[in-house]
Every structure is written in C-alpha cells, then in structure tokens.
C-alpha cells in the first residue's frame, strides 16, 4: 500500500533504532501526545526496541479518554429520548458514563448509530425529518473540520432536526497544563501528526521555547515513530530546543489554512473539562452564538447534569504521564476492557486498553 507499507519496513526501523541506541548517553522521558501513536507503539512493540534509558509516557491525546463523564451522561440522556437518533464514532459506544454506556441505551431501545463521518449523520437527519438527529462531536483538532462542516451543511440544507453535542479539545493547552504541573517528568514530545496536519505546528514554537522542551511532529507508522524519537533524542542529547518536523509528507508549519478558517467560522475557544484531569482554561471549542441552534445541550436541556467519577481510577494521572497503567490497583482486576472503570481502558487508543490488550 502506498505510503503505508513503506513505513513499516523492518530493516529501516531497526536501523533507526540502532542509531538511537548508539546515540543515547543518559535517561530521557518522552511523551507521545496522541493515542493513535500509543496504539501503534505497543501494537508493533516499538517500546521494546528502545534502549532502557528511553522511557515513553503516554499523553492525553485520546479523544474518547478525555471526554468528560458529564458529557457522556448528557449523551446517554439525549440518546435515550424516543424522538432522537444518536450518531457517534464507534469507540464512544463502550465508554462508561455514570452506570451505563451507549450500548446499554441501544439495548434498551434507544436509536444509537455508528457513523464514520458527521456528514453521514446530516444525511440521516435529511432522511428522517420526523426525528431529532444528534451527532456526538468529540475529538481534537483533527475531527473539528468535519464536525463543523456538518453544521454548515445542516444550515445550508435548512435542517431543523440536526444538532451536535460538542466536546472538542485542543492539544496545546493540554501540553501547557502537563509542562507547568509540579510533578511533570516529560522532557521531550512527539507531536500528533494528524492534529498538526490541520493546525500546522507554529502553535508549539512558543511552548517549546517557554518550557525548554524539544518537540518533533511525528506520524503513526513504525518508521514515522522511530524517526520522531530519533529527532527528539538528538535534540535532547545535544541540549538543543526546537520543533522539528518528521512528518513532512503530511504536515507544514502553517497547516491547512482553509480547515482552520472553517473551524473559526463555527467554533470559538472555551474552557473544557478533561476527563481525569480537570478544567484546562481555553482548552476546547464550542459553538459560536450564531450557531447556537445546532447545540444539542441547549436543544435537549441537559445542561444541569453533573456526575461523579470512580474514586479508584487513576486515568487522570496516566493521561498526564505521571503514572502508568500498571500503577493502578484496579488494572486488569476491577478494570478491564469488558468492564472499564475509566475511559483509558475503553478506546483502542487509550493507554490502559493498549497495555491490557498487548500484554504489558
């Protein structure tokens, strides 16, 4: 397959790993921001090929994991309504809310549908004018353009029965929260290639400078990840701080300007709660007032829902790179992918699920 198999070449990956082994002189802690990268690292066993000095910690970049319980409970409340067809990306279905998930809502007769694109949800709204169609608009900068496109499409079609439940978050404020925390251990970052494809990487230059932390824009295939690690470790060993781009086949400094403009047209920045972490100022997006009619929270009057988290789950510390899944007392016991206590055990991009599945 073009641009995929080439980046899974065992000899090339092993070559980069060998260069890393020869280069490293002391311990370094590096965080991969994106859950897709965590998944790739454990799926291919890249972490096992690294020299013992390099410790990878897993970042908060799993949209499913950081979506707050409050929004999941709101989703469950909306999806349970008889007049609603609730559309979601697949892996949100198993995320536990307070006591149940979207699967159980579906089993109890709720209309819950998996879609691959929010535009499919718009189409469902067009075909079912007697129903209210709600799309669970979660994710980072990567899913923001299609999510806002669905709102623009619904407005263009004059649909009165389409709305989105927004839980959008942004990477740079989360990185700043991690770097400014007293317990921070992270010395270098692999930046999320998909996020940077949309947003570029100019936003990270001041962050790298302010906290003196090198960063590398990194892709998702084994060779991409090996290259990202190589760049980051080079900078760490040389005492150099910069933002380098090891995913140039997809990412430019300024990113996709048209996509950014579309996002700004529909969304504005807001404070967001990150599941397990808490409120991070100006870390997310919500709908601008002129698009309020598409806001499912307003349409279904669920703004008052305020739930409580499981007291055992340490997903928050895991998402900030302070702890690993194995540090959790519930890991693999009370908490498994079949019965997750926290969202990091649910999504295939979640660190706990990845550790469990790949036997770490």
């Amino acid at each position: 397959m073009k641009y995929v198999t080439e980046y899974r070449d065992a000899a090339l990956v092993q070559g980069v790993m060998e260069r890393i082994r020869r280069l490293v002189t002391r311990p370094w802690v590096i965080m991969e921001i994106c859950g897709g990268q965590t998944h790739s690292i454990v799926r291919y066993g890249l972490d096992q090929m690294l020299p013992p000095e390099i410790e990878l910690v897993h970042g908060p970049g799993c949209p499913v994991c950081v979506t707050p319980l409050e929004l999941i409970d709101k989703a469950l409340a909306i999806a349970s309504r008889p007049e609603v067809i609730f559309c979601s990306y697949g892996d949100m279905l198993r995320v536990p809310g307070s006591g149940r998930d979207l699967f159980s809502v579906k089993a109890a007769g709720g209309q819950v549908r998996v879609v691959y694109s929010p535009l499919d949800a718009v189409e469902i709204a067009r075909q079912n004018p007697e129903k209210q169609v709600v799309f669970f608009a979660i994710g980072f900068e990567t899913t923001a353009p299609p999510n806002v496109m669905s709102v623009l499409a619904a407005r263009r079609l004059g649909l009165k029965n389409y709305s989105i439940l927004v839980s959008h978050v942004r990477v740079p404020p989360a990185m700043e929260a991690i770097l400014s925390a007293p317990a921070n251990r992270v010395q270098g970052f692999l930046l999320a290639g998909h996020v940077c494809t949309v947003m570029g990487y100019w936003e990270y230059l001041p962050l790298a400078e302010k906290y003196r932390v090198p960063m590398t824009v990194t892709g998702f295939e084994p060779l991409d990840l090996a290259q990202g690690l190589w760049h980051t470790i080079c900078m760490l060993e040389e005492g150099r701080v910069a933002v380098e781009n090891a995913y140039a086949r997809s990412v430019t400094l300024e990113g996709n300007r048209a996509a950014q403009e579309t996002i700004r047209q529909v969304f504005e920045e807001c404070d967001r709660t990150w599941r397990g972490i808490g409120v991070i100022p100006m870390s997310g997006w919500w709908l601008r007032p002129e698009f309020a009619e598409f806001d499912a929270e307003k349409r279904f009057d669920v703004e008052a829902i305020r739930p409580q988290e499981s007291p055992i789950c340490i997903a928050g510390q895991i998402l900030q790179g302070q702890k690993k899944p194995r540090d959790c007392l519930a890991f693999g016991k009370e908490c498994t992918p079949e019965h997750p206590l926290g969202a990091t055990m649910v999504s295939s991009e979640g660190a706990c699920a990845a550790y469990y599945r790949y036997g770490r």
Binding site: M1, D9, R94, I138
Partner: protein, 358 residues
C-alpha cells in the same frame, strides 16, 4: 434489496388467526408457519424441491439414517447475517458451510445436515427460493444431504428477514485424535489462505460505512480440503476454522486448550490489500476479522512440507502458508513477532470490535 417484489396486498379474509392458503402467494405470511396446508405446500414446493432425497421425502417426524460403526461428530450453528446476500455468498451458503466446516474440524467426514428456518412475515418467497437454491449448491459441493428441517414464521419486525440453524452429523476417522488440546511444542502452524475477506465483504455490503470494495466473502465448504490435509499429514494435531473473533481468537483458543505457547510471525500472515486498506481506514485489526472459508492447522514440523504442498493443489488451499510455531513457553499464550521484529502478546478480543474515531 432492490430487486424484491413489492409486498402484495392480501385479501381482507387473510389474517393471522385464520390463514387461508393463496395459490400464488409471493411472500411469507404467518400461515406458512401454521403447520397446515400452507406449511406443507412451502415444504413441498421450496425445501423438498431443492434438497430432495429419500430420507427427506419420507416425510416422517425424524430422519432415519444408517451409518457404519464408528464415532459421530455433531455440531450445530445458528446463522444470522445482515444483509442476507453479500458479495461471495449469502445466509444459505453460510448456513451450510459453517456447520460442514465445524464438523470437518474434528477430522470427521460431514454426511448429513438438518436445517431450521425462522422466517419473518413479509419475506418475499423469491428471496427464500434464492437462499434455498444457494444451500442446495453448497450442500452438493460439500457432498452432504439435508435430511430434516423445520420452519417457523414470526410476525413482521420480530426477525431480520430470516435466521437459519443447521446441525451437521459426520463420521470421524477411527484412531485419530484431532483437537485444540493436541498441539505440541515443536509443531508448526499452517494457515490455508488470506484472512479477513468475509468480515470486510459483509461490512461493506451493509453500505452503512460509506465504502465499497470488490472483495468477496471466502465462505466455502472446507471438508474436501480437510480430507486432503488428513491424507497428507497423518499425524495432524489441530484443525480449527477462524470464524468470529478471527485468527487471533482461534490461536488463543488453541493455546489455552493445549497449554502451549504459539509464536506467530505477523509478516507471514497473508492479507489481501483491499482488506488491509479497509482495516486501516476503519481502525480494525485484520487478525480479529471473521473468516468463513479458512482453516488453521497444527502439525509436526516434519509433516509441514507435504501438508503445504497438498493444500496448495486444492481450490480452497491455494495460498496456504506457514505462519508460526508451537512452543512450551509462554504456556497458554500467543506471541506475535511484529512486522518490525519486536514481540508482543496477541490477546483475544474484548467485546465487539469498534471503529476508531480517527
């Protein structure tokens, strides 16, 4: 389905309480499950016409079969699939092959099937006829006879078109012990061909996910291939078809049953580019995607060459290949040597495989 006839308007006297047989009914109505004349007509015109054999024709409450002395292998399986027709197969072919293959996986020769139909009111008769014709073709290909059956009709909305349950009976070769527990350290793992075709073909046929492929389901009766394998590898230890849960789940079952470790080489597992591409896009792992015409075999290393050579001469084993070894450690677990040369545990799937967000 687009080619289905429009539901016919029934006369006012046709009701669930008092089914009056209509000579030219074009769809299933509750009366077809009444046990009365409509049921008999349905059996005679559709099932008996297709599956005709002396046992079925006798029309008794049970099939009476004479078999040689030996050991019976029996398996039963219910088949539910949406859509009923998909590229490369349909629920009928699936219902025959699924059970034929399960019986064959014990090293047995499948001989007879029973078939039980749950039909939804309103199902076009032409659909039932197509499915039954497909079952007939699959049964002929496998060399098995359908010797007993049952039909029930449920109200509209209480089923998804039709469900078919088949039970298969076969004869085991005397003296041969084949099963998951028989794997031994030093054995090798053989796979009959590329994985994931069925799962991805059905998924794309559903049309909900917005992608199309020209992939065909691999659904096929494997009993003739299995006979060839048993002849080529006299000391064959394990046969298993990696259906639901995919190859990874099947390998884990064998590891747990035998208490051995399995070491699988990711790069050696054949996967078609279309399956790989669909999995990349959907966030699926092909190792967990269903197959309906593949077999995993575990044999002593010294029988592997003869086995592979014999398999590759058959229609359903052309792309057979060696994918791994059986080891003493780690007991009961499957290790995957990844494409880039690292090693990780390959676990069973927890729950349903869900498409990833991005």
């Amino acid at each position: 389905m687009s080619d289905d006839p429009k539901p016919v308007q029934l006369p006012a006297f046709e009701s669930p309480v008092c089914p009056v047989p209509l000579p030219h009914n074009e769809q299933i109505v509750l009366g077809h499950g009444s046990g009365g004349k409509m049921t008999h007509d349905l059996i005679r015109q559709i099932f008996l016409a297709a599956f005709d054999n002396p046992v079925l024709r006798a029309g008794d409450d049970a099939a009476s079969l004479e078999i040689a002395e030996g050991c019976l292998a029996i398996s039963t399986d219910s088949h539910v699939v949406s859509p009923l027709f998909f590229p490369g197969g349909d629920i009928g072919r699936l219902a025959v092959c699924g059970t034929v293959n399960d019986v064959a996986m014990l090293g047995a020769r499948p001989l007879y099937l029973t078939a039980s139909f749950i039909l939804e009111e309103g199902l076009p008769l032409s659909t039932l006829e197509r499915v039954v014709a497909s079952m007939k073709a699959a049964a002929e290909e496998a060399g098995v006879q359908i010797v007993a059956g049952d039909t029930k009709v449920v109200e509209k909305g209480k089923a998804d078109g039709m469900y078919i349950t088949t039970t298969g009976v076969g004869l085991r070769r005397p003296g041969r012990l084949i099963g998951g527990a028989q794997a031994r350290p030093g054995d090798v793992v053989v796979l009959s061909g590329p994985i994931g075709d069925h799962g991805i073909a059905v998924l794309s046929a559903r049309g909900e996910l917005g992608f199309e492929t020209d992939l065909q389901s691999d659904v096929a009766p494997l009993n003739r291939l299995i006979q060839v394998m048993l002849d080529a590898a006299p000391d064959l230890h394990v046969l298993r078809d990696p259906t639901r849960g995919g190859l990874a789940t099947t390998l884990n079952e064998i590891a747990r049953q035998s208490g051995c470790g399995l070491v699988i080489h990711e790069a050696a597992i054949p996967i078609r580019p279309a399956v790989l591409a669909a999995c990349e896009m959907l966030g699926f792992d092909p190792l967990y995607v269903a197959n309906e015409g593949k077999v995993v075999a575990i044999v002593p290393a010294d029988e592997a060459d003869a086995l592979l050579e014999a398999m590759r001469r058959t229609r359903y084993g052309e792309e057979a290949t060696l994918i791994g070894q059986v080891t003493a450690d780690p007991p009961g677990r499957v290790l995957l040597r990844t494409a880039i040369g690292a090693t990780r545990i390959l676990d069973m799937l927890a729950g349903e495989m869900l498409p990833r967000i991005c």
